[in-house]
Every structure is written in C-alpha cells, then in structure tokens.
C-alpha cells in the first residue's frame, strides 16, 4: 500500500515521521499521542503505510526501511513506546521484546535481504555475510524496502504483527536447532515467549499474541 499526502493530512497528529537517524529521534517520533510512525524515506514509497481506518487509541504502528531495521534498535524503542501507552509487567515486556526481535530479524534477514541461513553456522560465515548484507542495505530497492510493526491491545491481550516486503517464507520447512547448533532457535523462541504465533500471507507476516 502506498502512502499519500491526503492520508498524511487526514491522519494529522496521529501520524509522525522518523528521520531514520537514531533511537533517540525514533523515541521522539513515537511519543504520545502518535498512533503511527513512518520513516521519512518511505513517504510516498510503496512499502506499506498508514491504514487510517484502523487507527485508534489502542494501536501503535511503525513502518521503517530494512536499512534502519538492521542498523537501529527499533524493537526496543517500539516496546518502550508501548510501555508509555499500556502497563506492561516486566515478564510481558521481556516476552514481547524477545519474540518481536526474533520476528523482526527474520523479516530483515530472510524476508527482505534474503540472506542464506547457512552463513550463520560459523563466525567466518557471518563475516562473509556482512559484505552481502551491506551491499543489499545500500540498494534503494532492498535497503529501502519496508518493514512494518503493528501493535494492538485490549484489557486482556496484546497482539504484535511484523510484516516484510519479501516473497514469503515457508515456516513449515523450519526444523528445530540441533541441541548445540549455532542457529535455528528463532522459531522456538517465538513459540516459547508468545501465547500464539500465526504465520500469514505466505510467510511475509508473523502475528504474535500475548495474554496480559
């Protein structure tokens, strides 16, 4: 979905724009009463934008580039912004932060950057992956592709949804990590820290549900 100027005007005080510079500027852009924050580079881009009809007091959305999702602690800052809107116990804060971070990095690395998971099997493989990652992050098409985080809550539940702009991912083929394997724990962490994990839209979207 593309953003339009009309939507910006209509959304007025509920939509803010982040300059992509730092966690501090993101924290300011997510400050209340904002309901949706969009990275400025994505304005008039086609990576997903404000859904005005769904904006309400009990929602918070963040749309950032893949580049910024990789380079900044967006999940930590997003969860901190959630805490200013609804009380979270330390237990729930840890569960949301841990699961959402896993889902976000899956969206970044496998959804938008399409990095081979096998490179995570050795420290040298990780170093080799870095040049590929930096090259893709510098690409306007890939580094500039959108990642979207939505949170919605009620008195009894918090729901966090992470969406990437990739072609989807077949989670049914994911196997648990070997006991001492260096990778493969992400899905287990999603399942342990969330009360329910749902994969949607061919694997481009992961919905995490938490009981309050």
């Amino acid at each position: 979905m593309c953003l339009s100027v009309d939507e910006q005007i209509e959304a007025d005080a509920f939509v803010s724009y982040w300059n992509g510079v730092s966690e501090q500027t993101l924290e300011a852009a997510l400050a209340r009463p904002v309901h949706q924050c969009v990275e400025a580079d994505l304005f008039d881009g086609c990576g997903g934008g404000p859904d005005i009809g769904r904006l309400s007091a009990d929602r918070l959305s963040l749309v950032v580039t893949t580049r910024s999702a990789y380079r900044h602690s967006v999940v930590k800052t997003f969860v901190d912004a959630l805490r200013t809107r609804l009380p979270l116990t330390e237990d729930l804060r840890i569960r949301i932060y841990s699961a959402a971070q896993e889902a976000l990095m899956n969206a970044v690395l496998h959804g938008n950057l399409r990095i081979d998971g096998g490179l995570r099997g050795s420290l040298d493989g990780l170093i080799a992956a870095q040049s590929i990652i930096e090259s893709k992050l510098d690409s306007p098409e890939i580094g500039g592709a959108a990642i979207r985080i939505d949170a919605a809550w009620t008195a009894s539940e918090v729901e966090v949804t992470i969406r990437d702009s990739g072609d989807g991912y077949d989670y049914s083929g994911v196997r648990p990590a070997a006991e001492d394997g260096a990778s493969g724990r992400g899905l287990e962490i999603l399942q342990v820290f969330s009360d329910r994990v749902t994969v949607l839209n061919g694997g481009t979207t992961v919905r995490l549900e938490f009981q309050r």
Binding site: I94, S98, Q101, M105, L109, R120, L123, E179, G181, G186
Partner: protein, 99 residues
C-alpha cells in the same frame, strides 16, 4: 553492544544488547582473546540486558573456538532476559554458567 576485554585476566565484559548485528565486533573479540595465552576465558554477562537467538548462536561458535585451542569458555552471571533465554534454550547444559 559494548565489549570490554581484560587480556591479561582472560575476561570479557559484555553490556547492552547482543544481537545478529554485533557479529563483527564479537568475531574480533573472539579472535583477540583466544590469541592470548591462558586457560579459561570468562565472559561476564552481568551488564548484558538482552540477547537474541543470533547472540546465543555466536556464544556457541565462541565455545567451539575455545575447544579448538583446548580452553574452556565460562559464562558468568547472566541476569534478566539473558538468564531467561538461557533457561528457555537449555543453554546451561551447553556451557559452564556461573550464577
């Protein structure tokens, strides 16, 4: 993530968040610490606030590097979310973890 290395004592202190994006400084730290003489290497986690699955994976890769040089890697005093991640992933069975 921030890393403080005590080369003489074979100790490393990590703080902040340890995630996939920290793999370059972590690799440099592993290379440096295992190039120095000594037996055990201790990673102090008491100021580490957060770790993800990639961070856990990198600790396992560091343990494998330690084994290659016949040294032991000890993880010291994980707290909060880090301690919980260790429990969830049964990390305590894969490392010597000192509380």
């Amino acid at each position: 993530m921030q890393i403080h290395i005590d080369r003489a004592g074979g100790q490393i202190a990590m703080s902040g968040e340890f995630t996939f994006t920290d793999h370059i400084p972590f690799k440099e730290m592993v290379t440096e610490i295992f190039a120095a003489p000594g037996r055990a290497v201790v990673i102090d986690l008491s100021k580490l606030d957060f770790i993800d699955s990639a961070g856990l994976g990198m600790l396992l890769l560091a343990r494998d590097e330690a084994k290659k040089s016949h040294r032991e890697l000890i993880l010291r005093h994980p707290i909060g979310q880090v301690k919980r991640m260790f429990t969830v992933t049964r990390f305590n069975t894969l490392f010597k973890v000192e509380e």
